[in-house]
Symmetry: C2
Subunit: 348 residues, 2 copies
DNA sequence: GCCTCGATAGAAAGCGCTTTCCATCGGCGA
DNA sequence: TCGCCGATGGAAAGCGCTTTCTATCGAGGC
């Protein structure tokens, strides 16, 4: 029914072994033979049976990319970049065509684990975990254990924007300088003269949230400025909207609000505007990530630029083995302050 | 080294066949036996070998989701919804755990074909194609042929936001009412009194572009209003920005600009604002899709709402076979006009 | 001119699972 | 009490490929 490798072999008048060798290209085959085989493949419209191939070779050409939320451009950009760089790599088995698959964990540790198991089951060639992780110890232990098992089974593990757990030696990690970026952002606000700064943070139990908050606090401490109100909430627009009400309730005289990320900042702006507060006239607003839309916001958003595309590309290369893992298994990705229109001097 | 099904069988003192049956659950196994097996699985930390399983069963639990651009929320939202509904479906083989993998074609027909081949190779259980297709006949023929082959091999094919090619009987299709939505949008502008309307269209060779443009023109024709300038460009912000310059050059007296989608509309707004034109005071602007950010735009965007989440969910269910395919294999998804702040009466 | 060696190609043994027969066993109707 | 049936579980034959391990054939080397 379906064409098998044996059919191709018969047609090309060679053994199945030879066909396999031509297809995988890691064994010398005479040019004339190769051509004959390729012609047969073409004529029969043969498609390799992936499962059979993976079974025999004990590895597949699947690369898993785990993200918290595909619909969020933060992940979309990284995932897309990773997928491109994975697609272009060309030396592996099966003609080097790797299938990069992105999986949406929804930020849930259970689904993360489920997907990791599924990928382990498929004998994935590599796994990339994007975005910060939950700091819940139980979750951390479970995930780390699973990753160790994957690594042991020959699956390459890459972390992108996720700090490695100590002892997690077999994963290459790309970590964003969230702390430094957040610090510079708050310093910028302080330099402008702000002294009452609210902070609309992300979920309390995420590494990313903690690091950004730490950077923010470090700047305040260094300047000897008292910390303003902080509200934790999810990484979405609604959250920013609601957090703003809370922030303002806690300190009606805020002159600036720092948001966990650009999306949250959008919500903050909407809430502020609704109360008749002008930006940055009455209140300055800052985001984080520098997502594409932040330049289009009105006013355009002061934020911290994260080279998401580059990071994703690099993660993809690491997963392919095209790029050597960084020394110590960990590379820092810089975060750069971008000053735009949403921040200014406080009034009076 | 790695634990195999045979190991589990030995430990549970049953045959491999029984273990397989317990794991796949489509055969009666005594409760006590089942428990023994599951305990053994747990104790040995056994993970099924996917390739082996797929090889023997001649099908895998992979579901491919092809999108033009993951980083675009339009696709992100649909893909994410599809992935959720696929993850929750629970009756298939391997415990019903399907692995929904999203693949980024970048809008390139070649990559689309490559991914389809890769999925065919993996014996995917289903494939979902999201977003309009290129209308290039060669491409259409190639893709249709490939889809036919997939269907023939038992892979379910679902189109979501992509019109089925005639004769492509074995695919279930969800099509957006792009024509109707665009028509209502332009009618809205006409009712407001606009007579000089520019159109920042998408790429000329996409079905989506064509349908939206057709709807727009239908409204104009019905009202007896002459068509304004139209510029084709990609579906991104930059494109909208540039298109606006062109549109204004062709007709400096435009009172409204309709954009191919919300993202493009954002670029249009930016360009307009930069020239000192107020929205909607000087020029009204409308988008399409109603992506989450459009409500946050300033002014908030008048657009056409597409139930992307619902469509994605439905596509996922169709792929899982959880939902019956629509009669005739084709279901229309409504597109609803949403009037917000970016459109108003033309001046004077 | 014979033997050795490099370059190719074939034979065959799995890879780890599923699934089609069968075999077995306890219970129930006659 | 005997035979038959439904409910379970085992044996074994693959699924389609990869990959040793060999075999063969020319070309040189001495």
């Amino acid at each position: 029914m379906t064409v098998t490798l044996a059919d191709v072999a018969a047609r090309a008048r060679v053994s199945p072994a030879t066909v396999s060798r031509v297809l995988n290209g890691n064994y010398p085959v005479a040019e004339s033979t190769r051509e004959r085989v390729l012609r047969a493949v073409d004529e029969l419209d043969y498609v390799l049976n992936g499962p059979a191939s993976s079974l025999a070779a004990a590895t597949s050409d699947l690369v898993g990319v785990l993200v918290h939320d595909i619909a969020d451009p933060f992940f979309g950009i990284m995932a897309s970049a990773a997928q491109s760089s994975i697609g272009e790599g060309g030396s592996g088995r099966g003609g080097g065509e790797k299938l990069a698959v992105v999986c949406n964990t929804g930020g849930s540790p259970e689904r993360e684990l489920t997907y990791l198991t599924l990928l382990q089951r498929q004998r994935a060639a590599a796994v990339i975990l994007m975005g910060g992780s939950l700091e819940d110890p139980a979750h951390l232990a479970a995930t780390t254990g699973k990753l160790a098992k994957l690594a042991e089974a020959g699956t390459r593990v890459v972390l992108c924007g996720r700090p490695p757990v100590t002892g997690d030696a077999n994963a290459a990690a790309l970590v964003f300088d969230n702390r430094g970026g957040a610090r510079r952002l708050t310093e910028h606000l302080l330099e402008l003269g702000h002294r009452r700064i609210g902070y609309a943070a992300g979920p309390a139990d995420r590494t990313t949230t903690r690091h950004r908050l730490e950077g923010h606090r470090a700047a305040l401490t260094a300047a000897g400025v008292a910390e303003g109100p902080t509200v934790h909430s999810p990484y979405d627009r609604q959250a920013g909207y609601r957090a703003t009400a809370e922030l303002l309730a806690r300190d009606p005289d805020l002159t600036a609000v720092v948001a966990a990320n650009d999306t949250v900042a959008l919500g903050v702006c909407a809430a502020l505007r609704e109360r008749g507060l002008s930006i940055p006239g009455d209140v300055s607003v800052a985001g984080f990530d520098d997502l594409p839309f932040s330049v289009d916001a009105v006013p355009s958003l002061t934020t911290v630029h994260l080279p998401l595309h580059e990071a994703g590309t690099r993660a993809g290369r690491l997963a392919m083995g095209t790029e050597d893992p960084p020394a110590g298994g960990l590379a820092r990705v810089p975060a750069e302050l971008v000053v735009r229109g949403s921040t200014g001097r406080p009034r009076e």
